[in-house]
């Protein structure tokens, strides 16, 4: 029996200041790995970076992989347009992330953690490193052999893709690798690696402290717990909000819109644009029977009111992808250029409106043939905008 989706419910776990992280760490690492993994699995926590892979399972597979060397990596390459939650987590509650990394390391048999911090967040580095040294000091005290290093990115959106991130960490161009093998078996330096988004790690802290049930009881079926949402665009209250998963987009717009909301881009430039007429039927969560559409969202919510031209919005997204595609695979590299030049040509009347249909077919090809997860999603915004606002695209 499916639960019906509920009204927007605010929550306050992530940014709640917990001054007992030392106790939580000490207590948690005394538990058996199996026990912790089971708890994570029963919480149904899924990756908060966007892909939504079950976190407990990820840790479990990596724990079972045989290797003398393993790594825990925190993905803080928050590059998706409209997302800024990880920046806040790392500035306000970094110890939660570090605690989670240490617990994970202890379970999987790793001694080294790395935080890959995007170059744009350089200003966070100093404070973060200070927290890390305090944290490492405590680890030493409780005889936990674990260190964390901050590795800076240098301005490349694609490095948020986990295998591209490994390439970057290893000193290469951030070009995604072929999968399989997956990071749990062959990740950083070809060793088994847990790579989690900043927010995912912060949620595990909540679970360690309050138990899986507390987390599971929030949200809805297939989409348990809370999620941070980065709200921007035409809203009177831009910012970061922790909300239970499963709300309808209509409720979200009622709360954050400016009364004239025309559409919401869910999941950033690589996500989908949802027009007003579909707000009610769209639930925000992971894929499941309940949700109207699947929104693999990192929590970016960009709100557009009726003064905005959807052509300009799409033009901006595509410009972004044209530059930020790593460029190695054909569908993403050339596809992005074709979509961008194509919509401009249609807008200027150099190509007939029917050319959009050719491009829609191309966008399907891009979604199913690109090498990496990001390449597969670069055409999402194109498809959803052209489908819903075709008239704005035409000359």
């Amino acid at each position: 029996m499916a639960e019906s989706y509920h009204l927007l419910k605010r929550a306050d776990f992530i940014f709640r200041n917990e001054n007992d992280w030392e106790d939580i760490l000490t207590k948690t690492i005394k538990r058996t790995p199996q026990d912790i993994i089971n708890e994570l699995i029963s919480s149904e926590l899924k990756g908060r970076g966007g892909a939504g892979f079950p976190t407990g399972l990820k840790w479990k597979i990596t724990a079972e992989a045989k290797s003398a060397e393993k790594y825990v990596i925190c993905n803080a390459d928050e590059g998706e347009p409209g997302t800024f939650k990880d920046r806040e987590i790392l500035s306000r509650v970094p110890y939660k992330v570090l605690t989670a990394m240490a617990v994970c390391a202890n379970i999987i048999g790793s001694k080294k953690g790395i935080i890959y911090l995007r170059g744009e967040y350089h200003s966070l580095k100093e404070a973060l490193e200070k927290t890390i040294s305090e944290f490492e000091y405590y680890c030493k005290k409780i005889k936990l052999d674990f260190t964390v290093e901050v590795f800076m990115g240098s301005g490349a959106y694609i490095c948020g893709e986990e295998t591209a991130l490994f390439e970057s960490l290893e000193g290469h161009r951030g070009e995604p690798r072929n999968k399989p093998p997956y990071p749990t078996i062959k990740g950083y330096m070809d060793k088994p690696t847990v790579i989690n988004n900043v927010e995912t790690l912060a949620h595990t802290f909540t679970i360690f402290k309050y138990g899986a049930k507390k987390f599971y009881d929030l949200g809805v079926q297939f989409s348990r717990g809370t999620k941070l949402f980065s709200v921007s665009g035409d809203t009177p209250k831009p910012g970061i909000y922790e909300l239970e998963l499963g709300m309808s987009l209509q409720d979200f717009v009622n709360e954050f819109g400016d009364g004239d909301t025309k559409a919401v881009q869910v999941g950033g430039a690589s996500g989908f644009l949802v027009p007003r007429k579909k707000f009610q039927e769209t639930a925000i969560g992971y894929q499941g029977k309940l949700t109207g559409i699947s929104l693999p969202t990192g929590g970016s919510m960009m709100i557009y009111n009726s003064s905005r031209s959807m052509f300009n919005v799409l033009d901006n997204y595509l410009e972004f992808f044209r530059e930020e595609s790593c460029g190695q695979c054909t569908p993403c590299r050339v596809g992005c250029q074709q979509l961008l030049i194509g919509i401009k040509a249609v807008k200027r009347g150099e190509r007939p409106a029917q050319y959009l249909d050719k491009l829609l077919k191309l966008s399907e090809t891009m979604q199913i043939t690109a090498k990496c997860g990001l390449g597969q999603s670069v055409a999402n915004s194109f498809a959803s905008i052209v489908e819903n606002f075709r008239e704005e695209m035409i000359y």
């Binding site: 072929n178 930020e324 460029g327 190695q328 695979c329 054909t330 569908p331």
Partner: protein
């Protein structure tokens, strides 16, 4: 652990070993999946996406080259979804590509063109992207042209340069729509560490990397009644040329090649193999001289190991990467350049020709030879020693242009004076061959007996292992070589510059104790040269190698010092190995170059 994986491809069941890719599995059930970035010699990139296939139950398609088979997979390689996607991908590549095919050097040989033809891409719906892009066409190198407007960014060249050659002259630069194949700071290929080996050219699926061709120049020379045009052919050409003219890989076409060259109108068709034999005389003597200095005279300055100098790719590589070891290189010119210097001196005199009227052409399996011939020091005859270097591929172009039915040509013999050769010279075309040829002669010079191997075949130096080591013990030498009694002559052989790097690093670290080192820049030696027919891969290299050893086995004379024309040139012209004339015409010096 002989676990089997069972899957279905287009409904046909197939068993494979774990780790087998879908692409490999498909070939077992007679299914060809188109590829572009994939190359048998290189690591899997999975970036062109042309090889996508449908795995039942999955929404997304998988790259056949990069996806390992899993038990129970149901794979469709030609479903509607696959066909539509593949067509899109080809169209996308074409939209980014200078598709002016009729004016392209690779017209008819381009893998992208072939795919476009197979998939009947009749219209160009997508917008042509080239006008939006900055691109360069680099024609400065005497060996290689790099035309970015034709690049499809498959990165085969970059992987070749890094994985096979360890040169890394090419890299992928920038990202997104600006992503391109570049050299350091986008300098011309001629100004960077490029060795001109042409392995990238051999692997480029399109016309983005091609040899600089001199076909028209050679036609002009042939048509000029005032010119006497001499041609020489390298050992590896005769086992490769056939592939471009209808024969299977591994077919020896020596006689037909000579016949074709004569029909093309060359005034004299002679053989680089002759000067390969001469190289053995000079280089073998040089090695023995160095050994004498080191072992008998205890000269601390003598440079060992002595390294071969036949491969111009290797020469440029060591000039860039290990300039401190230039003294270890044999001072012998390559057979091509020895031949060139002699054509305009010895040959001119013997035939009573004005050397300024001679045009000297060589047919090489190599693109680096074009650079070598253009080196400023290669003018010892008083003229440019070799005027034009054509690759095996360019020769096949000329043969086709001339309307010669190559397959049915009767065999012909090389012209005399510099056309006689031995089995030892033929094997110059395969890795280990120079070593084997040198040992056949040096051992006999020192001991008065042939090398102690069955049929003179020194199998220890043969084969495709990247670095080979062998040794031969010298016993009961002739009186003048007494100091070599009991000495184990140790040699190492490397082919593919990545393997040369391994050996040179060992030399540098003081961990190498051999006396003689053979290096060929290209995998497999010259038979796998950058100028050889496309495709070239491990399987084809093996077939060409087999052909070369057959050619050797069939030769009546198989030791360089027994070549009557070599004996004659020493008697009539050079005197003896390392004589003053030899030094002037047949030896050279090297230039230290920048590594970065």
């Amino acid at each position: 652990m002989t676990q089997k994986i069972q899957l279905n491809i287009n409904g046909f069941p197939v068993d494979v070993k774990p780790g087998t890719t879908i692409l490999e599995a498909a070939s077992k059930v007679n299914v060809t999946i188109p590829t572009l970035c994939y190359h048998k010699d290189l690591c899997v990139a999975g970036n062109c996406r042309v090889c996508v296939v449908e795995v039942a139950g999955q929404k997304r398609l998988s790259a056949a080259c990069a996806t390992p088979c899993e038990d129970g997979m149901d794979i469709l390689t030609n479903s509607l979804k696959v066909r539509n996607s593949r067509k899109h991908i080809i169209e996308l590549l074409l939209s980014e590509h200078n598709a002016d095919c009729t004016k392209c050097y690779k017209n008819g040989k381009c893998e992208l063109q072939l795919l476009a033809s197979e998939y009947k891409i009749m219209t160009q719906d997508f917008i042509e992207l080239l006008p939006w892009k900055d691109y360069t066409i680099d024609m400065i190198s005497p060996s290689i042209i790099k035309d970015d407007s034709k690049c499809i960014r498959c990165q085969r060249c970059v992987r070749t340069c890094a994985e096979l050659q360890g040169v890394n002259a090419l890299t992928v630069a920038y990202k997104g729509d600006k992503m391109k194949i570049s050299t350091f700071f986008e300098k011309p290929m001629n100004d960077v560490v490029c060795t001109n080996c042409g392995q990238c050219v051999n692997r480029c699926p399109t016309g983005a990397l091609v040899e600089k061709n001199y076909v028209e120049e050679v036609w002009d020379a042939i048509s000029d009644p005032g010119k006497h045009v001499v041609v020489q052919t390298a050992p590896a050409v005769r086992v490769g040329l056939g592939e471009d003219l209808g024969f299977d890989p591994g077919t020896r076409v020596t006689g037909k090649m000579v016949a074709a060259l004569k029909r093309l109108g060359f005034d004299s068709v002679m053989d680089t193999d002759f000067s390969a034999d001469l190289t053995i005389m000079e280089e073998g003597t040089e090695l023995l001289t160095r050994l004498k200095k080191a072992l008998k005279d205890k000269d601390p300055d003598v440079k060992l190991p002595m390294a071969t100098s036949c491969s111009p790719g290797w020469i440029k590589y060591i000039e860039h990467m290990y300039p401190e070891y230039l003294g270890n290189l044999s001072t012998c010119k390559s057979p091509q350049q020895m031949f060139g210097a002699l054509v305009k001196t010895y040959y001119a005199k013997a035939r009573n020709l004005d050397p300024s009227k001679i045009v000297s052409v060589s047919i090489m399996p190599c693109t680096a030879k074009k650079f070598e011939a253009a080196r400023s020091e290669m003018h010892d005859s008083g003229y440019r020693d070799v005027d034009y270097v054509l690759t095996t591929r360019e020769l096949s172009i000329m043969i086709k242009q001339a309307g010669i039915d190559f397959m049915s040509l009767p065999d012909m013999e090389f012209d005399r004076l510099m056309g006689e050769s031995t089995g030892a010279a033929v094997i110059f075309g395969v890795t280990g061959g120079v070593m084997e040829a040198a040992l056949r002669t040096a051992y006999e010079l020192v001991t008065g007996r042939p090398v102690p191997f069955e049929n003179l075949n020194i199998t220890a130096v043969r084969g495709m292992t990247g670095v080979k080591e062998a040794s031969i013990k010298i016993e009961n030498p002739l009186k003048e070589w007494k100091f070599l009694d009991g000495v184990e002559l140790r040699c190492a052989i490397a082919h593919g510059l990545i393997n040369a790097k391994t050996v040179m690093d060992a030399v540098k670290a003081g961990k190498a104790n051999f006396h003689f080192l053979e290096v060929m820049a290209c995998p497999g030696g010259c038979l796998g040269g950058g100028g050889q027919p496309i495709p070239t891969n491990a399987e084809i290299r093996d077939k060409r190698a087999k052909a070369i050893y057959e050619e050797d086995a069939w030769k009546p004379i198989r030791k360089s010092h027994e070549n009557p024309e070599v004996q004659k040139i020493y008697k009539d012209f050079l005197g003896e190995p390392l004589s003053e004339v030899s030094h002037h015409l047949l030896h050279t010096k090297y230039t230290s170059r920048q590594r970065f």
